[in-house]
């Protein structure tokens, strides 16, 4: 049964040609969203709480190798596989912002959503992690600190979206197409990440999304992702 794609609102374009794999976005994301530091051992075990990851693939045989990077984050699917499987609506769709919400307080930790996410964008709080002094001062007051046993994932910096919406509301206008910028886009030194409103044809993000290099990740699954990747042609090595 074909489902109608809901009209996208907020979206992101990631230019894989510009991405150098420097991981500045990963760091910025973790700082912005109060992601716990789980420690070296746990990261090695595969329990890092990164909402945004760079997947690195090597092309070719040594010494003629070249790295390829793909940023992996929640695609904020219009038809998200994680939503119907949650028994308690902790993974829910926001009609207003057209993003995929994660309600930490409602999550009971079945981890079904994480299994069903083809992008593996979800991470789980396996423990209560320490935030020793003075690290507690880095916490962003606009973002909830999560406890053990709940899922979390990229929110498209929804606290920034909401702040912009409130501001626009007070000024009696619509939020501008380029008014909100996510932490990862802000930190990207090569400007590989563009964020904004896809429903505004003049915003930077919709202009970039119209590029002929654009593709949606795992488009065949019918998830209608809100992230558009621009195909990288790569560099030719040294």
């Amino acid at each position: 049964m074909a489902q109608m794609e809901p009209a996208p609102k907020w979206g992101m374009v990631i230019d894989l040609d510009l991405c150098t794999g420097c991981q500045a976005c990963v760091t910025a994301c973790a700082m912005e969203n109060n992601n716990h530091f789980v420690g070296e051992e746990e990261v090695g075990y595969g329990r890092a709480l990164y909402w945004l990851r760079t997947l690195r693939y090597w092309d070719g045989e040594y010494p003629q190798v070249k790295p390829n990077f793909q940023l992996s984050l929640c695609q904020q699917c219009g038809n998200a596989p994680c939503e119907p499987v949650c028994p308690v609506f902790a993974s829910a769709h926001s009609e207003e912002q057209q993003v995929n919400l994660m309600v930490y307080n409602r999550c009971i930790g079945t981890r079904y959503c994480a299994n069903n996410c083809p992008y593996l964008a979800r991470v789980f709080n396996f423990y209560d992690y320490d935030i020793p002094e003075p690290l507690n001062n880095y916490l962003n007051p606009n973002v909830t600190v999560r406890r053990r046993g709940v899922m979390e994932k990229c929110t498209f910096c929804i606290h920034r979206i909401q702040a912009a919406e409130q501001k626009a509301n007070q000024e009696n206008r619509e939020v501008g197409g380029d008014e909100v910028i996510t932490a990862c886009a802000q930190a990207c030194p090569t400007d590989a990440i563009t964020f904004g409103r896809l429903d505004d044809p003049n915003s930077r993000v919709s202009q970039a999304a119209r590029s002929e290099r654009g593709f949606a990740w795992m488009e065949d699954l019918g998830t209608f992702p809100r992230v558009v990747y621009l195909k990288g042609v790569g560099y030719n090595g040294s």
């Binding site: 746990e42 075990y45 595969g46 329990r47 997947l55 690195r56 693939y57 793909q70 992996s72 596989p81 119907p84 499987v85 949650c86 028994p87 308690v88 609506f89 409602r106 999550c107 009971i108 930790g109 079945t110 981890r111 079904y112 994480a114 299994n115 069903n116 083809p118 992008y119 593996l120 991470v123 789980f124 709080n125 396996f126 423990y127 209560d128 053990r148 046993g149 709940v150 899922m151 795992m218 699954l221 998830t223």
Partner: protein, 480 residues
């Protein structure tokens, strides 16, 4: 011994053949009702020191390995388990499916055989139904054990609350919850109904505290014609009604996986595949339990004869073949479909680091039953049947393990391929639920009559010999 036995039909004098037939079939080898009552009561009330040692060890294991470790896990976090990205479900869910599968066949054997009037079921229906109830009790713990925040598990329950927050009825986990609850309640009623006359029998043969408990549980059963009529009607209705419930439960368990977008889970064949697998492992578990009951309880060798193992062995063989059919369908059609992600999973199952689990499954579920269960002598040797059915259950556990962690570890993003090895708290909790099952079962064997005496007696009185193919079997048609 066969003093009051019905004469065998037919005018031919059978001589030695009659002796064989009567030794073979419980239905043809009657004893007086009072003697059977005494045998069952003795089996129930006599305990040996070995029994007390076993039950206290099991109780201790339940307390420490299951509840102790579970509390430790809940207080520390799910991190004590081995799950990690990308394998978010590990051995807990595999064991959950395993237990639900086990619980399946208890009622299957009892209800289907009752509906089809297979008379060899009579002495062991209760043992099988009890397995259903306790298998569910052990399995139903897992959806709670594997929760990250178990203290708010009740959010999955549809209950009215001030915020009008209901569970998500689109989620397979909610279907699961409802299906398992329905099955638990209906199979417990189905266990209880045929138990009433036996509880009344136990009430009349005991004293003191036991008698007072049985008096309450027997609901004032006197054995009048009207009571028998209603009981038979109720049992017949339940036997028919519980069959679709039973099929729905395991189909819904399979939907936990089949409704997902995960490669190799997203399969339309999972419903029947899981049901056949459940019946295979469950009927095998019935054989295992009957062997233990026969070996440890008094007088059980009279009730549980080799005919029981023989017939169940045939069932196991048939279901092993049916399971193979679905297994090949699942893999062959997926391979033929050619989806790259699914092919990767198949390749990982057969050649990856966990491939031994996959081959263990094939050996235990196909090779072993197919090579052994053709043989009538093997089928009629209880201890050999015990070994074979144990291996089949090992194979079925391996099947669930293949389907869950080994499939999750090899999905669409090659960068995130990973493996999973259970850690000690997981293994401890899994062993703990096995101990819980055995503990509850063992306790119950000394609390309720394990053989439905009235059903056996009914068989003694009402049977006829029917020719089915080359053999003659006792059957009952005029009742029920």
């Amino acid at each position: 011994m066969a003093a009051e036995a019905k004469p065998l039909p037919g005018s031919v004098v059978r001589g030695a053949e009659e002796e064989d037939l009567r030794a073979e079939h419980l239905m043809l080898d009657p004893r007086p009702r009072e003697e059977m009552n005494q045998m069952v009561m003795e089996a129930m009330t006599k305990t040996t020191p070995a029994f007390w040692i076993a039950i206290s060890v099991l109780g201790l294991v339940v307390l420490v390995c299951l509840f102790g470790v579970w509390i430790y896990q809940a207080l520390t976090g799910m991190g004590v388990a081995g799950v990690r990205r990308p394998v978010f479900w590990g051995i807990y869910i595999a064991t959950f499916v395993f237990w639900i599968g086990i619980s399946h066949a208890g009622t299957f054997v009892s209800a289907i055989l009752r509906v089809f009037k297979a008379e060899f079921r009579r002495p062991f229906t209760r043992a099988a139904e009890l397995m259903t109830t306790f298998g569910l009790a052990a399995g139903a713990l897992y959806p709670l054990i594997h929760l990250g925040r178990v203290w708010v598990f009740y959010w999955m329950v549809p209950y009215p609350n001030s915020r009008w927050l209901w569970p998500n009825f689109r989620s397979a986990l909610v279907w699961d919850f409802l299906a398992i609850t329905t099955y638990l309640i209906s199979s417990t009623i189905y266990l209880y109904l045929p138990l009433i006359p036996d509880l009344a029998m136990a009430r009349d043969h005991s004293t003191g505290l036991r008698q007072r408990i049985y008096r309450i549980l027997a609901l004032g059963w006197r054995g009048t014609e009207a009571e028998w009529f209603r009981l038979r009607t109720a049992i017949t209705i339940f036997a028919f009604a519980i069959i679709p419930v039973m099929f729905s439960v395991h189909t819904i368990v399979s939907w936990d996986f089949a409704v997902g977008v995960v490669a190799m889970w997203h399969s339309t064949i999972f419903g029947p595949y899981f049901i056949i697998g459940a019946i295979l492992s469950g009927v095998s578990a019935v054989v295992m339990i009957l062997f233990v009951l026969r070996a440890t309880m008094l007088h059980m060798k009279y009730f549980l004869r080799p005919e029981v193992f023989d017939s169940l062995g045939k069932l196991v063989l048939i279901f092993s073949m049916a399971w193979t059919y679905f297994f090949i369908n699942d893999y062959l059609l997926t391979y033929y479909g050619g989806d790259a992600a699914e092919r990767q999973v198949l390749l990982e199952h057969a050649t990856g680091p966990g491939a031994w689990v996959w081959y263990l499954m094939l050996i235990c579920n196909i090779v072993i039953p197919w090579l052994t269960l053709w043989n009538r002598r093997i089928r009629r040797t209880p201890w050999m049947m015990f070994i074979i059915t144990t291996l089949i259950n090992v194979g079925m556990f391996a099947e669930r393990y293949t389907i869950i962690p080994m499939t999750l570890g090899h999905q669409r993003i090659p960068f995130d391929w990973g493996t999973y090895v259970p850690r000690w708290p997981e293994i401890s909790i899994v062993l703990g639920t096995f101990a819980l099952f055995m503990f509850l079962y063992l306790a119950m064997t000394r609390l309720i009559p394990m053989v439905p005496v009235w059903e056996v007696q009914e068989g003694h009185m009402a049977h006829q010999l029917r020719k089915v193919g080359q053999t003659e079997i006792p059957s009952i048609t005029e009742l029920e």
